[in-house]
Every structure is written in structure tokens, then in C-alpha cells.
């Protein structure tokens, strides 16, 4: 079938079951936009390209499918960069398509030209600069395959304008063949057997579940393993939701911002089973003392993660679900011990339930929110900063894919667009965004999409008129010398929301808190609830 390169791209996207594209048009990408008019694919017009990637990311994390975004050459493409890096660090499957100046103009610094494949190379799973339109169907097929398989990640396809306009015979490949890319799904049987043996010998096991558990849809297997070997489960920030937060065996989050019980349990464990986690510095603290008494098992689909940060006794390269399914075939039984009593004591020691009386404290508000929402259909999205840590610690997440946050890169401004993407992915979800005044202002322009796309996103804004997390760092490590952390020019957020057509209310008294939370939950439309937050509220020392 004869068609233009642009038509071939759109047809290949349809072939990959793409339903939504988040994007922003511009000169070099116009052939694609023209072809898009004849397609059933919905295009969501964003307000800034960085948000398009975050929106695609929110969409991908809810659906488990590849999120797609599109931008023009030059500044359109460079605006994608932070979004792509964010998705890369959190292993989110994204295909980003950018327009590019015509092939013969490349390298001449023409209007809106930038080397976007060069720029994104360090934080893309892979990228392509397409120079021959006949390669487009194959490249799109490869892009989707690479983005969604193995350890997922973003893939960028840069399409020069003339390539998009060239006529070709459309031939979509039946299968993708890449001799340099063969992800390992099945864990090595002998290594799995070694894990089974290590479990038999241990008496104080801990499971550490990361984002890979969610990617691999292996929450059931984690729950089974935990029950079978009576092992408590700590999650990383990306792993929140991999194990029900209200389960007696749940330890909460691990690491610098994590719970006492999780960190204590890992320190005392004699077997640590790390599953789908990369053990980043925020999770481990000093790697010399991390799980110093434990035999460490590390299961991950990315071989490069194993042994990168922490020495591993039993490495297994493989998909989490496949590997755990095999492991669960063994008759797993550990040594008896008082381990679970110890765990319970550590959990009780700093348990916050009931500690909070009604107040404007974030701990109270998030605990109350957590108690009141319907967890089966609520997705909590956070931005980055203090509120993110509070949400991670005080809001109990019960299911995978119901807690979205920028874990690896810590991108302020992630929250609002990710919430928009999450809502577009499934309008039956209740989407609540927890954000701060700093973060919200980094993607504020996307508020327009709530009206434009008729989306219901509830926004809980902790406003302390400051960059609270940075201020806290200055308090702790810079002798309270506060430099450039007070956002004195902040707007009236309620009026601002109203300007975008959202009802809004401000809470600055304790006796208004409960009602405001009810209003947020019960509202049939998008709503912004601004909570006046004391600038001295801290995330640490965390005593969850």
C-alpha cells in the first residue's frame, strides 16, 4: 500500500494499539499531525512538551502499555528531555516521536534544529534518527518492542520532515528481530534452587520489592512468597503498591525516607530477597552496612543492576513473575524463630495510627485521606518534595499501579501531568494529586487540560510557600542558612484554579480539615484543596 512516511507512522501506531498521543505541534512535525486527522487515535494537546512525556508516563503506569508522546524539532524536542529522563530512571515504557528538519538540512544549524538523538542518548533505552522512510514501519515496530519488553524504558524516534513526506510501500514487519537485544525472562533454574535452599536455612528473611514487581505484574507472587516463608515485605519508593500497605507483614518503605521497621528489619535480616529493585542510594544508605548480616538474593531482569550497588550472594537475571513462579514450586519453609514478633514490636514502636489528633499536619491529613478513599479505584499521584515523602509514608497503598511518583529522577512538576495521564488511561479511576506549591508551579499550565479533556482530578496542595525539602536540607546540613527556598511571590492558588475553571477551597484552620477532605473525595468535578502548611513541618526523622 502506497502512503507517506507520516501515514506509515500513524498506521504503525494504530497497529500497536495506541489510543492516545500526548503532544504539541510545530513546523517539522506537521506531516504527522496532518495524517493524525485521519486516524482514530486521540491526540491530547498539552501545554508544554515536558508534560506530554509525564502524561504518557502516567498513562503507561496505569495501563501497563506503552505511552506515546510527540513534539516538533528543536525546542519541542528539547522540552521532552526531562520527561524522557524521568521515564528512563523509573523504567516506564514510552515511545516519543519528534519532528526533525529535512535530512539535507541536518547539521547546518537551521531554524529549530537540534540533535535530539544525541541529546537523549544517555537516558533513552534506545533512539533512532530515521533517514529512509522505508525503514519507518520496522523502526516503529522495534521502538514499541524495545520500550515494552525486558526492563521497560523510553525510546525516541526522530523523523525528518522530508522523510515523513516521502511516499513508500507500507509493510509492517511480522516480528521484530534484534540480535543485540534479547531480554532474559526465565531465571536460571539452579540459581532458583539456591534461593530455595537459602530460604530453608534462614530464620529472619526480608523481602524487598521494587518497581519491577509492579512492571512484571507480580504482586500476587510476592504475597504468596511472603505468606509461605513468613517474610515481612519492605518496598522501595517505586515498589509502593507491590504489597498491600495494611498487611501485617508489610514493613512500609525502605531507606532514607522509609520506616523504622523496614530499615531495622533489613539490618537484622539473615536473608534479604531483593526483587525488581535497583537498590539506589536512597534505599540502601551506606552500601557497606546495608543488610550486613544477610545473604542477599537479587532478582532483576536487567543484568546490569545486579551487583552494581550492593554485593549479591545469589544473583538471578530474569523476569520477576517468571522467576517467582518457579521459586514457588519448591516446598519453601524457613527455620522457626521469633522474627515476626520482633517485626511487630518494631512496627508498633513508631506506629502513627491514632497518634495524630485533628490538625493541619500533613501526617493527619494524609492518614485521614488514606482512611476515607475507596482504595479499589483510587490512584494517588505525587509530585516531588516533602509531600511526596509524607504521601509515601502516611497514605496506605493496597494495590499495584495506584501510587505514581517520580522515584529515580525526582522531577518536580511530574505530578499534575502524570495525574492527567492516569485519568485518561481509565476514567473510572479516582485520581488524587498530592502536590506542593513548588512542584505545582512547575507544571501549572497543564491545569488547562482538566477542562479541555473534561477530566476529574482532585488536587491536594500542601502550601508552605517554600521549597520545603530543600529548606529541610539547609536546616540539617547548612546550619539553618536558608537560601532561595522561600517562594514569596506565590499566587493565590484558589483564584488561579478558579481561573482555569476549577472550584477551590483553602484550609487554614484545624476545624476545617475533615470537611475539606470530604469535599475533595466527594466532589464530582476537579477540585483544588489548598492546605496552609507550617514551613517547619519535616519529613525526618521519620517515625512511621
Amino acid at each position: 500500500m502506497r502512503m507517506t512516511g507520516a501515514q506509515a507512522i500513524i498506521k504503525s501506531l494504530e497497529r500497536n494499539n495506541v489510543k492516545v498521543i500526548f503532544g504539541y505541534p510545530g513546523g517539522a512535525v506537521l506531516p504527522l499531525y496532518d495524517s493524525l486527522m485521519d486516524s482514530s487515535i486521540k491526540h491530547v494537546l498539552v501545554r508544554q512538551e515536558q508534560a506530554a512525556v509525564h502524561e504518557a508516563s502516567g498513562y503507561a503506569r496505569i495501563t501497563g502499555e506503552v505511552g506515546v508522546c510527540m513534539a516538533t524539532s528543536g525546542p519541542g524536542a528539547t522540552n521532552l528531555v526531562t520527561g524522557i529522563a524521568t521515564a528512563y530512571m523509573d523504567s516506564i515504557p514510552i515511545v516519543a516521536i519528534t519532528g526533525q528538519v529535512p535530512v539535507e538540512m541536518i547539521g547546518r544549524d537551521v531554524f529549530q534544529e537540534v540533535d535530539i538523538t544525541g541529546a537523549t542518548e544517555p537516558f533513552c533505552k534506545h533512539n533512532y534518527l530515521v533517514k529512509d522512510a522505508r525503514e519507518l514501519p520496522r523502526i516503529i515496530a522495534e521502538a514499541f518492542y524495545i520500550a515494552s519488553t525486558g526492563r521497560p524504558g523510553p525510546v525516541l524516534v526522530d523523523v525528518p520532515k522530508d522523510v515523513a513526506m516521502e511516499e513508500i510501500d507500507y509493510n509492517y514487519p511480522d516480528r521484530v528481530e534484534l540480535r543485540g537485544y534479547k531480554p532474559t525472562y526465565a531465571g536460571h533454574p539452579l540459581q532458583i534452587k539456591r534461593v530455595a535452599k537459602a530460604i530453608e536455612k534462614c530464620s529472619r528473611p526480608v523481602i524487598c520489592a521494587g518497581g519491577g514487581v509492579i512492571t512484571s505484574n507480580a504482586a500476587d507472587e510476592i504475597a504468596q512468597l511472603s505468606q509461605r516463608i513468613k517474610a515481612p515485605v519492605a518496598t522501595t519508593l517505586m515498589g509502593i503498591g507491590a504489597f498491600p500497605g495494611d498487611h501485617p507483614l508489610s514493613l512500609g518503605m525502605l531507606g532514607q525516607h522509609g520506616s523504622y521497621a523496614a530499615n531495622r528489619a533489613v539490618a537484622m535480616a539473615d536473608l534479604l530477597i531483593v526483587i525488581g529493585a535497583r537498590l539506589g542510594d536512597r534505599a540502601t544508605g551506606s552500601t557497606d552496612t546495608f543488610a550486613a548480616n544477610a545473604v542477599i538474593v537479587h532478582i532483576d531482569i536487567d543484568p546490569a543492576e545486579i551487583g552494581k550497588n550492593v554485593n549479591t550472594n545469589i544473583p538471578i537475571v530474569g523476569d520477576v513473575k517468571c522467576t517467582l513462579t518457579e521459586l514457588l514450586k519448591y516446598n519453601l519453609k524457613r527455620q522457626d524463630s521469633d522474627w515476626l514478633q520482633d517485626i511487630k514490636a518494631w512496627k508498633d514502636k513508631y506506629h502513627h495510627k491514632g497518634l495524630f489528633c485533628r490538625s493541619l499536619k500533613p501526617g493527619y491529613i494524609l492518614t485521614r485521606l488514606s482512611d476515607k478513599v475507596d482504595k479499589d479505584k483510587t490512584v494517588l499521584v505525587t509530585d516531588v518534595g516533602q509531600h511526596q515523602i509524607w504521601a509515601g509514608n502516611y497514605y496506605t497503598v493496597k494495590k499495584p499501579r495506584t501510587f505514581l511518583t517520580s522515584g529515580g529522577l525526582g522531577t518536580m512538576g511530574y505530578g499534575l501531568p502524570a495525574a492527567i495521564g492516569a485519568k485518561l488511561a481509565d476514567r473510572n479511576n479516582e485520581v488524587i494529586l498530592v502536590t506542593g506549591d513548588g512542584s505545582l508551579q512547575m507544571s501549572l499550565q497543564e491545569l488547562a487540560l482538566l477542562k479541555q479533556e473534561d477530566l476529574v482530578v482532585k488536587i491536594l496542595l500542601f502550601n508552605n510557600n517554600a521549597l520545603g525539602m530543600v529548606r529541610e536540607l539547609q536546616q540539617q546540613h547548612y546550619n539553618c542558612r536558608y537560601c532561595q527556598v522561600h517562594l514569596t511571590g506565590n499566587p493565590d492558588f484558589c483564584k488561579l484554579a478558579e481561573a482555569y475553571g476549577l472550584p477551590a477551597l483553602r484550609v487554614d484552620r484545624e476545624d476545617e480539615v475533615d470537611e475539606a477532605i470530604d469535599t475533595l473525595i466527594n466532589s464530582k468535578t476537579s477540585v483544588l484543596v489548598e492546605v496552609k502548611t507550617d514551613v517547619n513541618e519535616k519529613t525526618s526523622p521519620c517515625r512511621v
Binding site: 538523538t117 544525541g118 542518548e121 544517555p122 533505552k125 534506545h126 534518527l129 533517514k131 524495545i146 528481530e177 534484534l178 540480535r179 543485540g180 537485544y181 534479547k182 536487567d302 543484568p303 546490569a304 551487583g307 552494581k308
Partner: protein
């Protein structure tokens, strides 16, 4: 310790930048890098000499393997033949020519250009051999020198295989 890695890559544009970029961004130090097409025109072979301990080499190998364009990474440090090539332009007057030729002869190098006042010498060998020749020619005055990175193949019947469906890999 120095390691020599043979990296088979898809002969795609940008692949060299992907690999050299990976070295700098992950903090690995390249001693040398040589690249050229192989018997399969779609595949290039890079020979990379890198200094590092076992942890570094393991990480480097894994990170290289993560690149989609990388087909196979093999450490050929043990039991292989490794060669570099250098061209050295040295001052050579009527009175020193013979002396230089003797050195060239001992090293089994070649004179590939000659003028009234210079000679250009081609030498292949391992790194030490080239450095040794360089030192011996130094007293005459080296005007210019260029050397390739090391390239190498494993000895004997061993070859680095790759196929589309390389199941056991």
C-alpha cells in the same frame, strides 16, 4: 589491570557515539578504541582496551550489553593476538639514515616514505614493541607520530559467534 574487549556492534550510524558516550558517562577510562567493519558488512568490531578491576570490567560489559546496537561483548585479554600499528616520521639525514635503517630492521618495521631529511616508518606489534621503537628513534628527533588502537583476535580455532537466534547466549 588492562583488559581487551572485543565488541561486535550493528553497523548503524551513531553507534560509536553511543559506546564512547557510555564510557565517559559511567566513568570508565578507555586506553584505546579501534573500530572497523567485519566480514559481515552489517557488523562492526570494536577493540577496546580499558583499565580497571574485575568489578569495573563486569559493569562495563553489562552496560555495553544493554545497548541495543551491541551484539556481543567478549573479553579477549587472555590467549589472543593483539596488534597496534604506528607510523613514525623521524628526522633522517644522510649521516643517520643507516643507523635508523638498522633499528627498523631489528624491529621488522618498514620504511614507507623517505625524503632528504625524514623517513616515515611503519610498525605493527603490541603496545610495548611500538613504545620500544619510539624510544629508540627519539634521539633522532620524532617529527610526528600516529598510532592506532589495539586490535585483536583470539588464538586458535576460537571465534566470536553471533546469530539472530542465539538461544544459549
Amino acid at each position: 589491570m588492562k583488559h581487551t574487549l572485543s565488541v561486535l556492534v550493528e553497523n548503524n550510524p551513531g553507534v560509536l557515539s553511543r559506546i564512547s558516550g557510555l564510557f565517559s558517562r559511567r566513568g570508565f577510562n578507555i586506553d584505546s578504541l579501534a573500530v572497523g567493519v567485519t566480514e559481515d558488512k552489517n557488523v562492526s568490531r570494536m577493540t577496546i582496551v580499558v583499565d580497571g578491576d574485575n568489578y569495573t570490567i563486569e559493569q562495563l560489559t553489562k552496560q555495553l550489553n544493554k545497548l541495543i546496537d551491541v551484539i556481543k561483548v567478549t573479553d579477549i585479554s587472555k590467549d589472543s593476538v593483539i596488534r597496534e600499528l604506528a607510523l613514525i616520521k623521524v628526522n633522517a639525514s644522510l649521516s643517520t639514515r643507516n643507523e635508523i635503517l638498522q633499528i627498523v630492521y631489528i624491529f621488522r618495521a618498514k620504511v614507507i616514505d623517505i625524503s632528504k631529511s625524514t623517513m616515515t616508518i611503519e610498525i605493527t606489534g603490541n603496545s610495548q614493541k611500538i613504545t620500544a621503537l619510539e624510544e629508540l628513534l627519539q634521539p633522532f628527533g620524532i617529527k610526528e607520530m600516529v598510532r592506532t588502537g589495539a586490535i585483536g583476535l583470539e588464538r586458535g580455532q576460537k571465534v566470536i559467534k553471533y546469530t539472530i537466534n542465539d538461544e544459549e547466549e
